[in-house]
Symmetry: C2
């Protein structure tokens, strides 16, 4: 079900399409409690139609970023400072330089993570080869 109360037949690529909390929760595989929790922390700020939350494409974009950050193991408030960075005003030189310094910090962190990840994968594959060799030896007996 779409949330469009207008008679229009729910164009999925309509940039003005909106979603309910149940729809976004379902779509992203989280509970509505999680979605509300992210709103409490300022990670997303859905509109309201009266008292009811109304989610736009913008909210889904941010939610996707939040969940990717979560999969990568970042704390939620750190995730907020990162994605807020993307929306931050960059009019003045000082702001731009601050944003660039933050970017650099982030990248250093992410690159460290990738090193860890690659090392873990490499060890895993070495180990797999050992196991397969053992299995072969068992087969030849």
């Amino acid at each position: 079900m779409t949330s469009q109360t207008t008679g229009s037949p729910a164009a999925p690529d309509d940039p003005s399409r909106t979603w309910t909390i149940a729809e976004v929760a379902e779509e992203f595989g989280v509970t509505h409690r999680t979605v509300r929790h992210y709103e409490e922390l300022g990670l997303i700020s859905p509109d309201r139609r009266g008292t009811t939350r109304v989610y736009h494409r913008r909210d889904r974009t941010r939610l996707a970023l939040v969940l990717r950050g979560r999969r990568l193991g970042f704390p939620l408030d750190e995730i907020r400072t990162i994605i807020d960075l993307y929306d931050a005003p960059r009019g003045r030189r000082s702001q731009l330089e601050y944003v660039l310094s933050q970017i650099d910090e982030r990248r250093t962190d992410l690159e460290q993570r990738r090193r860890d990840l690659d090392a873990a994968l490499a060890e895993l594959e070495t180990f797999e080869r050992r196991c397969r060799d053992d299995l072969d030896r068992l087969g030849r007996l």
Copy 2:
């Protein structure tokens, strides 16, 4: 300070060298509480000299694995099942096949993480370029 009470002058590559809890904590940049917590969860199992914990190279190896897993955002009990896998007996075919299936599960997870990581890095670099362009434009005014 080394923990060797013997007269030997602390050879750092001696395979029988041991460490105190303070030394390993210092070396890995964690508190002694963290080290003990990992022991409570069965992630490491140091020897005892009387009541005092004595760490061998083996413990440091496992601790390094634990901390890398932590940097990657894995929960500690999951980390334990992973590194226990490396030490698991692989004598029988059924055991080997189980271990191999676990390896495959792990690798799938790690590869998903790498995709997330690469996407995040790519976006970060796109964003950085935009910012640098903005900065250039400001400079040319």
